[in-house]
């Protein structure tokens, strides 16, 4: 039984990663799961300087999901390199750093700073719906996405994964723009913009008014988008959106994803990542499938 996959030359023990922003830098969930078991750890978005994030309430529950408007609170790249990357060095797990910024220059600053570190890949967050400037603006227009991808590729020493927003008319346009500009892979989906109103108070529940929807509620949308993108581009895809079990993860892989990320479900079940890996191994065994790679995009075969 072989669960290995590779993305842009980076070998992963298995295709199961953490989704950015739902797993910190692994410190908190290292008490629940053996981080060495994971295919990769994708860290919380980090910017060139500390970001305070949005006012609270930042999170709320919705049916089979949740809305968040954290606003990318992060300590900035300096603290991140000294503390978080130092912590992760002790683990035998590839680290993918999620990068955010308000301008192209800010993204580039982080990308360059990470150049001489042991980080395996960079995931560029151009799809966070919760910050006013930058971020999503780059992710909702194909030409803007092309431009920022191209600039980042010029400076990046590691493979570049562009993280796509589902809040667009046609996600395949975005996938194609990223590929054309040289992206090594794409990841999707980021959260779907949503809103919740407290009827008793006649007010928005979230201080930011809108938030990003994640969790099992978005899974069918995410699977569909992964499938569409798998047909639009030939670079590898990291699929995510509401994965809770191995079956959920396999849906993404069968739709065309090479790897998957477990996100908000970590909050409901802190053991979810390893349970997905174990379930996947069982599936391969039970169905006498030699390698997980046979399943990538298999629905069309």
């Amino acid at each position: 039984m072989d669960t290995r996959v590779s993305i842009a030359g980076v070998e992963l023990k298995n295709p199961v990663m953490t989704a950015s922003g739902t797993f910190g830098s692994g410190m908190e969930y290292g008490r629940f799961v053996d981080l060495n078991r994971l295919g990769a750890i994708v860290t919380k978005g980090v910017a060139s300087v500390p970001w305070p994030g949005n006012p609270t309430p930042r999170v709320t529950e919705t049916p089979s999901g949740m809305l968040n408007a954290i606003g990318l609170q992060n300590p900035g790249i300096d603290v991140f390199v000294e503390r978080d990357l130092a912590f992760l060095k002790d683990y035998d797990v590839p680290v993918i750093v999620n990068v955010c910024g308000k301008t192209v220059e800010e993204y580039l600053e982080v990308v360059e700073r990470l150049g001489d570190t042991s980080v395996a890949m960079l995931e560029i967050n151009v799809s966070c719906p919760n910050v006013k400037e930058g971020a999503i603006a780059f992710g909702q227009k194909a030409d803007a996405l092309f431009h920022i991808t191209e600039e980042i590729k010029k400076k990046a020493k590691q493979p570049v994964v562009m993280k796509l927003s589902p809040n667009v008319t046609d996600i395949t346009e975005m996938a194609k723009a990223a590929e054309a500009a040289g992206a090594d892979a794409i990841s999707l989906i980021n959260t779907i913009t949503g809103m919740k109103i407290d009827v008793a108070k006649r007010k928005f529940v979230l201080a930011n008014k809108t938030g990003g929807l994640s969790g099992p509620a978005i899974r069918p949308v995410a699977v569909r988008m992964v499938y569409q993108c798998a047909h639009a581009v030939s670079i590898p895809i990291i699929g995510m959106g509401g994965i809770a079990t191995a079956e959920d993860a396999l849906e993404f892989i069968m739709a065309g994803a090479t790897a998957v990320s477990v996100g908000a479900v970590n909050f409901a079940n802190p053991y979810a990542t390893v349970e997905v890996i174990e379930g996947m191994e069982r599936y391969l065994q039970d169905t006498h499938t030699e390698t997980i790679r046979e399943l990538i995009g298999c629905v069309d075969r």
Binding site: P50, R58, P63, Q73
Partner: protein
């Protein structure tokens, strides 16, 4: 050693002790690792509810292996939890948060203050402070004469029951009663609604005493990973260096001088 697990616990009992206020007891080894002021995440028994409900530990007994929660039905999640019966299972994420620094009360004159549904964690706090302090005065604020839990505080100090409508010994809020009695605490431990905590913060600054207050915030992970639950801090926070600290991890209990509320 601290304890942190998500596990399936067994409900020992649950009863409604007052209108809409439930007393839930579950069996878990976590009971041996709790500190007053810490909390647990209780998952509503429903597949479509993915987040835990943070509920303070009202009592924990290492011998019987039981944790007790006293909570108000506030919405759908707590309503679902309130339907749990003896023998049912309850999904619990525990033990969470920092808890009250009980050592700060050693040999001091201490006021234990609870308001409304902030009273349950103060029962455990008062119990664990017994014998440590020079003097403990307990102030419990209610809306009316529905004074759930109040009688259970008696062994742990002088209990002063305050109500907004004046139907108990003192009328007004917990600080009104404290001033009326002329009690001058050196340390305050408090949990309750935000206006009460703000007033206590102000009082502590004026009176020159130290107040440890327990804050509430919306949470997702409960373990410090999502940054959903932050409170504004005066100084740079440990995690992100942006004066926004995690209530679930660095809190819920803070020295009132450290937070902007």
């Amino acid at each position: 050693m601290d304890y942190r697990k998500k596990e399936t616990t067994v409900v020992v009992s649950q009863k409604e002790i007052s209108a809409g206020i439930f007393d839930l007891r579950v069996r878990t080894q976590a009971a041996a690792y709790c500190v007053p002021g810490q909390f647990a995440g209780i998952f509503p028994p429903s597949d479509s509810r993915m987040l835990m409900r943070p509920i303070s530990i009202c009592e924990a007994n290492a011998e019987s292996g039981e944790i007790r929660f006293v909570y108000r039905v506030a919405g759908e999640g707590t309503k679902l939890i309130s339907a749990l019966k003896e023998g049912d299972t309850a999904e619990l994420l525990s033990v969470l948060g920092n808890g009250f620094p009980l050592d700060a009360a050693e040999g001091k004159k201490v006021a234990v203050m609870g308001g409304g549904i902030g009273i349950p964690p103060m029962l455990y706090t008062a119990k664990k402070l017994a014998g440590k302090t020079a003097e403990t005065e307990i102030y419990l604020g209610y809306r009316n004469n529905d004074t759930f839990l109040a009688s259970e505080f008696t062994p742990y100090g002088t209990v002063n029951v305050v109500s907004e409508d004046g139907s108990t010994a003192y009328k007004g809020n917990v600080l009104d009663a404290l001033k009326e009695r002329g009690f001058k605490p050196e340390v305050i431990f408090a949990c309750g609604p935000m206006p009460m905590l703000r007033a206590i913060k102000r009082y502590a600054e004026e009176a020159g005493c130290i107040a440890y207050i327990s804050l509430e915030e919306r949470m997702a992970c409960g373990v410090g990973a999502c940054l959903g639950c932050v409170a504004k801090t005066v100084n740079k926070d440990e995690h992100s260096h942006v004066n926004n600290t995690r209530v679930c991890t660095e809190g819920p209990v803070f020295d009132s001088r450290e937070v902007e509320i």
